[in-house]
C-alpha cells in the first residue's frame, strides 16, 4: 500500500493523482508493497501535464519503481502471472492458442510447482480439480475445443467446488485461425455457472490471473479464464509483478457430502451453487473488470479485445462500458443502460453481453448483432469496429481507407515440412488405397488435405470412429483413416476398441512421430519424456493396439515407400480392423537432436523434367529451366529418390 505521508503533496492535482494510485493499488495489490515510495523529483517533472495525464503518469511511475517491464507474448505474460500467483499445480493439453503457457512454465529452472502435460483435457481438468480439493492452487490450460472434452468434470466441479484456487484457461479462437470451430467459452461459463474473466489486453490478462485465483478461493468455485488468439498471440510491453513461490502443501480432507455427488448430495450442492451467484456478480464489479464512464446520452458496451478496438475509435461524448468478467451484475448494468437513450453492444462471437443488455434495457433501444450490428462469426478488427460504429450512427465515416489486396496471387498456405513423414505416408496411402475413403484427424497431417488423403476431420480422435461409422453404413469402398500418436493417445484408443469390438472393416494408420508437433513439440506418453524432460516409462502403441483386439498390427518406416506400400497392400486384402504404425521422427525434432541424413541433388543430365518429384509437394524441390532442383531445405529423407522414374536424384557428394 502506498502511504500518503511518503509522498510530498505539491498540489491538489498531485494529491488527486495519489488517491487514484491508491485506488488502483486496491485493485491490483500484487503490484504495490509498503516499500513503494514516489520520489518528489518524478512528481516535479509531470507538472506540465493536465490532471488526467498526470494520473496515468504517476501510476506508471509506481509500476516502474517496483517491477520489471518486458515485451512479452500474451501467453508468456499469463504464464508469468501464474508464477506470480504462487500456483502449485499445473496441467493441460496443448492446443493453439493456449500451448505456450505451459511451455513457458515447464521451461523454468527449478519450478516451485508440479507441472504436467496430460493425455487429454478431461484428464488434465480432473487432475487439477483434485489438486484444488487438496487446498493448493491449480491451473489447467487448453484451447476452447478442449473444454468440450473437459466439459464433463467442468459441469460438476461447479457443484463440488474447490478449496484452493482453480483457474481453467480455455483460449478461444475467433476466425478459427487454427481451430475446427469458433465456439465461445463464455457460454460454457454461463452453462456451468462459474465466473469467467475475459481480458481486453495482454496487460489485463496478466493482471487478471492473481485475481482469478483469489476469486476462485473466495467463492470456492473454478474460475474460467478466457483469452482469445489476439491476446494469447499478441505482444505488448507488460509490467510484471513479484514472483512469490508457494509454500502450500496439499492435504485432502474427506467430506463425502462435498466430493461424492450422489443424488442426495448433488441436489444440495446445486442449490448452493445458485445461491453464490448474486455475490459473485457484485464482486466482479468491485474488482474493476466491468467498468464504465458516462460521457453522453449514447453508450457503447464492449467486451474482451473488442473493448480495446472501441477505445481506439470512440468519439468524445459517447459513454463507454467495458465488460471483462461474467456473470454481469444486471442491476449495475441496468442503471448504466437506463441513463442512456441508445446503447450499442460490440463483442466477438456469441451475443453474451448483448443478451444481458437486452434483458435490462427496458425502453432503451439496443443495437447489436441480434439486429444486424455486428457478426456472429469471425474476429473483430479496428476497421470492422469502425464499420459498426458508422452503421449505428456513432461515427460519421469509417476513418480507415477501404483498400483491396492484390488479386490472384498464388497462395502460400502452411505446408508439411521438407522431409516430413506425413507426406511420404500420404503418398504411399494414395498409391495403394486408390479411391478409398480417408477419415483423418487433428494434427500436422491434416495438411494432407492438399494431397487428397483427408476426407473428414471433426475433433480429436474422430478419425477412427468416423471410419468405423462409415464402415457400418454400407459404402463398399475401402476405408483408411490416419491419426497421429498424440491424438491416438488423447481420444483415439476408445474408438479403436469400439471398432474392433463391433467388427468394423477398416485400416488405421497411426502416424507416429513421437511428439505433439503441430502445437510446438510438446512431449506425450509416446515420447518417453515428461513435460519437465524427466524420462517416463515407454508406451508401446503396438501392444496397446493388440490389447484392443487388433490382430494385424505392423510397424513401417514411411520413408521406405516400397516397404510401406507392401504392408498397405497386405492390410487391404484382409478383413477386420488393421493397424499400421508409420514410425519416423518429426523432421524438426530430428534436426534439433542433430540427426544428419545428408542432402540430395538432381543430376540435371539425367532429369527428364517429368515433374513427378515437384508434384510430390516437398518445399525442398523446385523447378527451374524445365528441370527439377533441390534447395537447401532438403533434410535427406530420400523419398524423392524413390519417386523419380529415371534415377536422377542422387545423394550429394556420391555421384
Amino acid at each position: 500500500m502506498i502511504r500518503t505521508h511518503d509522498l510530498p503533496v505539491i498540489s491538489r492535482a498531485h494529491h488527486r493523482a495519489m488517491l487514484r494510485a491508491q485506488k488502483i493499488a486496491l485493485i491490483y495489490p500484487n503490484y504495490y508493497s509498503t516499500r513503494v515510495f514516489i520520489g518528489c523529483e518524478s512528481l516535479g517533472s509531470v507538472k506540465k501535464y493536465s490532471d488526467r495525464d498526470m494520473c496515468r503518469k504517476i501510476t506508471v511511475l509506481v509500476r516502474i519503481r517496483i517491477m520489471e517491464r518486458k515485451y512479452l507474448l500474451g501467453n508468456e505474460a499469463i504464464a508469468h502471472a501464474c508464477i506470480e500467483s504462487g500456483v502449485d499445480f499445473v496441467s493441460g493439453y496443448p492446443g493453439t492458442p493456449s500451448s505456450e503457457v505451459i511451455d513457458v512454465m515447464r521451461a523454468q529452472p527449478e519450478p516451485s510447482y508440479y507441472i504436467e502435460w496430460s493425455v487429454n483435457e478431461k484428464v488434465a481438468l480432473e487432475n487439477a480439480l483434485a489438486a484444488a480439493w487438496c487446498g493448493i492452487r491449480a491451473l489447467c490450460t487448453m484451447k476452447h475445443v478442449g473444454l468440450n472434452v473437459a466439459a464433463d468434470p467442468l459441469m460438476t466441479s461447479a457443484y463440488t467446488g474447490v478449496i484452493g484456487g482453480l483457474v481453467i484457461m480455455s483460449a478461444d479462437d475467433p476466425f478459427a485461425h487454427s481451430s475446427q470451430n469458433e465456439q465461445d467459452t463464455r457460454c460454457y461459463a454461463k452453462f456451468a455457472r462459474v465466473p469467467c474473466l475475459d481480458p481486453e489486453s495482454v496487460q489485463e490478462a496478466h493482471d487478471m490471473m492473481p485475481a482469478a485465483f483469489r476469486l476462485s478461493e473466495e467463492f470456492g468455485l473454478p474460475v474460467i479464464f478466457r483469452p482469445t488468439t489476439r491476446i494469447c498471440h499478441s505482444k505488448s510491453d507488460v509490467a510484471l509483478g513479484e514472483v512469490v513461490p508457494s509454500t502450500r502443501l496439499g492435504e485432502f480432507h474427506k467430506d463425502p457430502r462435498q466430493y461424492v455427488v450422489i443424488p442426495a448430495h448433488t441436489r444440495i450442492l446445486h442449490k448452493k451453487l445458485n445461491e453464490k451467484q448474486p455475490a459473485i456478480k457484485k464482486r466482479l464489479v468491485e474488482l474493476g473488470y466491468n467498468r464504465f464512464e458516462i460521457r453522453g446520452k449514447t453508450a457503447v458496451i464492449a467486451s474482451g479485445i473488442a473493448a480495446s478496438y472501441v477505445q481506439e475509435l470512440l468519439p468524445a461524448g459517447i459513454s463507454f462500458m467495458k465488460i471483462g468478467a461474467y456473470p454481469i451484475d444486471e442491476e449495475w448494468l441496468g442503471a448504466f443502460v437506463g441513463k442512456h437513450e441508445k446503447v450499442l453492444v460490440i463483442e466477438e462471437l456469441a451475443p453474451e453481453v448483448e443478451e444481458v443488455v437486452r434483458q435490462v434495457a427496458g425502453c432503451v433501444p439496443v443495437f447489436g448483432k441480434k439486429n444486424g450490428y455486428g457478426s456472429y462469426e469471425g474476429e473483430l478488427s479496428p476497421p470492422a469496429v469502425a464499420a459498426i460504429l458508422v452503421k449505428a450512427g456513432l461515427l460519421p465515416a469509417n476513418p480507415f481507407p477501404s483498400v483491396d489486396p492484390v488479386q490472384n496471387l498464388p497462395l502460400r498456405p502452411p505446408i508439411l515440412c521438407a522431409g516430413c513423414l506425413h507426406r511420404s505416408a500420404a503418398y504411399a496411402i494414395k498409391k495403394v488405397f486408390k479411391d478409398s475413403i480417408y477419415p483423418s484427424d487433428i494434427g500436422c497431417y491434416t495438411l494432407g488435405l492438399q494431397m487428397g488423403v483427408v476426407d473428414t476431420t471433426i475433433c480429436m480422435g474422430a478419425s477412427i470412429t468416423v471410419a468405423s461409422g462409415i464402415a457400418h453404413s454400407g459404402d463398399p469402398r475401402d476405408i483408411l483413416c490416419t491419426i497421429g500418436d498424440s491424438t491416438f493417445l488423447h481420444t483415439g484408443i476408445q474408438g479403436l476398441l469400439n471398432a474392433v469390438y463391433n467388427g468394423a472393416n477398416m485400416t488405421v494408420v497411426i502416424l507416429d512421430n513421437r511428439i505433439t508437433a503441430m502445437t510446438g513439440h510438446q512431449p506425450n506418453p509416446n515420447t518417453g519424456l515428461t513435460a519437465c524432460g524427466v524420462e517416463s516409462p515407454h508406451v508401446s502403441l503396438d501392444v496397446m493396439c493388440r490389447a484392443c483386439g487388433v490382430h494385424f498390427v505392423e510397424s513401417v518406416d514411411p520413408f521406405d515407400i516400397t516397404g510401406m506400400m507392401h504392408v498397405l497392400e497386405q492390410a487391404k486384402k484382409r478383413k477386420g480392423v488393421k493397424v499400421i504404425i508409420a514410425k519416423q521422427m518429426c523432421v524438426i525434432s530430428a534436426r534439433r537432436a542433430g540427426v544428419k541424413r545428408g542432402r540430395y541433388l538432381v543430376d540435371t543430365d539425367a532429369c527428364t523434367g517429368c515433374g513427378n518429384c515437384v508434384r510430390f509437394g516437398c518445399p525442398a524441390i523446385e523447378f527451374a529451366d524445365e528441370k527439377a532442383e533441390i534447395n537447401d531445405l532438403c533434410s535427406g529423407c530420400a523419398v524423392c529418390v524413390q519417386i523419380c522414374p529415371v534415377g536422377a536424384i542422387v545423394r550429394e557428394g556420391k555421384r
Partner: protein, 195 residues
Amino acid sequence: MNRSFDILMVGIGGQGTILASNILGEACLIEGRHVKGAETHGMAQRGGSVESHIRIDGLFGPLIPPGQADLMISFDLLEALRYSHYLKKEGRLIVNNHLVLPTSVYTQKLVAPTEDEIIAALKKHTLCLLDADKMAADAGSPLSQNVVMLGAASMSIPLKAESLLEAVRRLVPKKTVEINVKAFEMGREFGGICR
C-alpha cells in the same frame, strides 16, 4: 485517436520475423515506450505466409488496419505484394530482393508474377530493395538476414539506432552478437543510401 508508428513485417514461416519483432519490442522498452504487436503462430507457421504487426507507442489493439502501416518490412517479394495494401499511401517499403515460389505453384499449377512484375507493382510506394541474403552472408551468417532487414529499415523507424543495436545484442544468441551487429550496421548503411 492514438497515433502509433505501425510496422508490418511479413515473410515466410521460419525466416526470423518473430526475432525481428522482439528486437523492435525490446528497443521500445529500452526507450521506455509502449508497444503492441500481433503474430502468426501454430498452424500458420509451417512454411506458410506469416505477418507480424508492431505498433510503436501503441496503447490499444495489436492489429494494424489495412492502409495504415507506416512501414512494411518484407523478407520475400511475393509476400511484399500480398500485404502491400496494408501500407498507407506515403508508407515506406523495405523488401528483400528474393522470391521463394510457393509449392502451390507446382502442385496446383498456379501462375506466379515474375520478379520484375512484382517490383514494378511495389514501386507505387517508396521502395527500398536490398539483397539481404547476400549482405547477411557477407556479415558472417545467412541467418542474420532478419537483422540486415531491420538495419535497412532502421532509418525510417522512430527509435534510436543505439536502442535497436542494444536490443540486437540482448536478443540474438551470444555467439552471434558480433555478426548480427555487423549485419545491422551493413543494413543501416544501405538503408541510408536507398532512402
